[in-house]
């Protein structure tokens, strides 16, 4: 349902962040993307919802071309793709509920959203999304008053409120401590399994990638260098993806998972 065909991204300045990538991700998969800093992980994720346009090749989502979409079509494609960010990207001054309602913008008439008069059924969807990540009691609390882990769950609820077919998560646990990282990753895993939402997660840490990645995609210098199951991805594979031996910085827990 997500297909990259010879997809390349060259940023202004000449950095080749993706090089002729061919990749297919099926409906309902949980894919973890790994690679060194600068390998192109964020670029790959952002190409799926068109936040980063391709310079060559094509990306299609559910059979529709992201690359050739008009602005209106692009908004429509995006409405079916939830996104979760490393730094949460919440409006900190406003309530948790208002943040989650951002996920309902695509279904809300402009005048309603401008006046912040969301339909009761949209508020209900937002509340259910908060229930799913276990923080509905914080609905009317200011987002800035939440802990990092709670803020990321608001981010997940915002993505869920879109009722998406796909969720993209760009290093969702990089700003969190190890126990909280596992809580958030388990939330994503549960959402993938229970709701069948295709989930693509960028991760820095190998042990997390191996635990949660049913399928692991490895990038190096913008090229696909590994595509296989998490179980197959042993230390040798990761050394190849990283192009160097592994260090304690590559794992979340103090002792290396290998």
């Amino acid at each position: 349902m997500i297909r990259f065909s010879r997809a390349s991204v060259t940023y202004p300045g000449g950095v080749h962040a993706l090089r002729e990538l061919d990749l297919e991700i099926g409906a309902g998969e949980m894919v973890v993307v790994v690679g060194l800093s600068g390998a192109g992980k964020s670029t790959l994720i952002r190409a799926i919802n068109g936040l980063v346009p391709l310079t060559e090749g094509e990306v299609t989502v559910e059979g529709r071309s992201v690359t050739r979409a008009t602005p209106r079509e692009l908004r429509e494609i995006r409405s079916r793709i939830g996104m979760i960010f490393q730094t949460f990207n919440l409006v900190k001054r406003t309530t948790v509920l208002n943040n989650v309602l951002m996920g309902r913008l695509h279904a809300t008439p402009t005048w309603r959203a401008l006046l912040s008069r969301y339909r009761p059924e949209d508020v209900e969807i937002a509340m259910q999304a908060l229930e799913r990540v276990g923080i509905v009691d914080k609905a009317y609390v200011r987002a800035s008053n939440l802990s990092g882990g709670q803020q990321q769950r608001v981010g997940i609820a915002r993505a869920l409120a879109q009722e998406p077919r796909i969720i993209l998560a760009d290093e969702p646990v990089a700003s969190l401590d190890p126990p909280t990282s596992h809580v958030v990753m388990r939330d994503l895993q549960r959402i993938n399994r229970e709701l069948g939402i295709t989930t693509i997660v960028n991760l820095h840490f190998l042990d997390l990638a191996r635990v949660y990645g049913e399928r692991i995609v490895g990038l190096r210098g913008g090229r696909l260098v590994y595509d296989g199951t998490g179980a197959q991805a042993d230390e040798r594979v990761f050394r190849e993806i990283y192009g160097r031996s592994l260090t304690a910085d590559d794992v979340l827990e103090a002792s290396p998972a290998a």
């Binding site: 936040l51 908004r75 996104m83 960010f85 990207n89 406003t94 951002m102 959203a113």
Partner: protein, 271 residues
């Protein structure tokens, strides 16, 4: 672990950057400019002792102002209310217009490069003209009266608020905008949900500030006949009726003070 702590890996210390010349040059430039402005030969001939001598001449006037003639109070009520009404109307129109303009004139939210430069350019022109000049223009255009004053104040407010607000928008956290865009929101809704909540406290503060400026500016623009208490003030000054001028000054002082109290309350509630 402990061995590593005892002999930490250290890269070579960087050389201390050379001290920048910007600060001493800036101070020097400032001193030269001040001398140029104040000196006898190039500037206005600023002479402190002479000014202090001149000030005593004003003592008589100040003495009269300090003994306000309160029987004049009833005659000032209506123009004072007119000033207040002008200030309210001008603030509402000016600040409402400033909001969309500031989004166009900010790099973060502008719909395009062309719109950005046009917006900035217009704002700079609007702000380049002082409120008194606007009053003169609109008195000429729509004749003497409060309408001219309101129009002058609207432009004055638009210039101030849109400038301050567009700079506030420049500095917002762009993460929420990205989130809204990723969720399929159009430009208007991205700004409404991702930017507006972040700038709301500033917007309220700027609006209250220009409202207060309006009350004060109305005394100046009244001089050219743009309505309100300024007309009264101007007339009494012409007759050297400083006891009456004193009444107006006290009233203005109280009014500005009350506005300040109210705006402090409003801002506290919003932060």
């Amino acid at each position: 672990m402990t061995a590593a702590a005892a002999t930490p890996v250290r890269s070579a210390r960087p050389a201390k950057p050379r001290p920048s010349l910007a600060v001493p040059l800036g101070v020097l430039g400032f001193l030269v400019l001040t001398y140029w402005a104040a000196s006898e030969e190039f500037g206005i001939g600023f002479d402190l002792p002479a000014i202090l001598g001149d000030l005593t001449r004003g003592a008589g006037i100040i003495g009269e102002i300090l003994r306000p003639d309160w029987t004049f109070l009833p005659a000032t009520v209506e123009p004072m209310l007119e000033t207040l009404q002008m200030a309210i109307i001008a603030s509402v129109i000016g600040c409402a217009t400033a909001l969309p303009v500031s989004f166009i004139a900010s790099r973060v939210t502008t719909p395009g490069v062309a719109a950005y430069f046009v917006g900035r350019g217009i704002l700079n022109v609007i702000r380049a003209l002082p409120d008194l000049l606007y009053a003169m223009i609109f008195v000429a255009a729509v004749s003497i009266g409060p309408l001219a004053g309101i129009l002058a104040l609207v432009f004055f407010n638009l210039g101030v608020v849109a400038k301050l607000l567009s700079e506030t928008v420049d500095g917002v956290d762009q993460g929420p905008m990205e989130a809204a865009r990723a969720a399929g929101a159009n430009r208007a809704l991205t700004i409404r949900t991702g930017v507006f909540p972040q700038i709301l406290p500033n917007y309220v503060a700027y609006s209250l500030y220009v409202f207060e400026l309006n009350v004060r500016a109305s005394t100046v623009i009244g001089i050219v006949g743009a309505g309100g208490i300024g007309n009264v003030l101007n007339a009494q000054m012409k007759f050297f009726a400083y006891e009456r001028v004193g009444v107006v000054i006290v009233e203005l002082f109280v009014l500005v003070f009350v506005i300040e109290l109210i705006s402090i309350q409003l801002r506290r509630r919003l932060v």
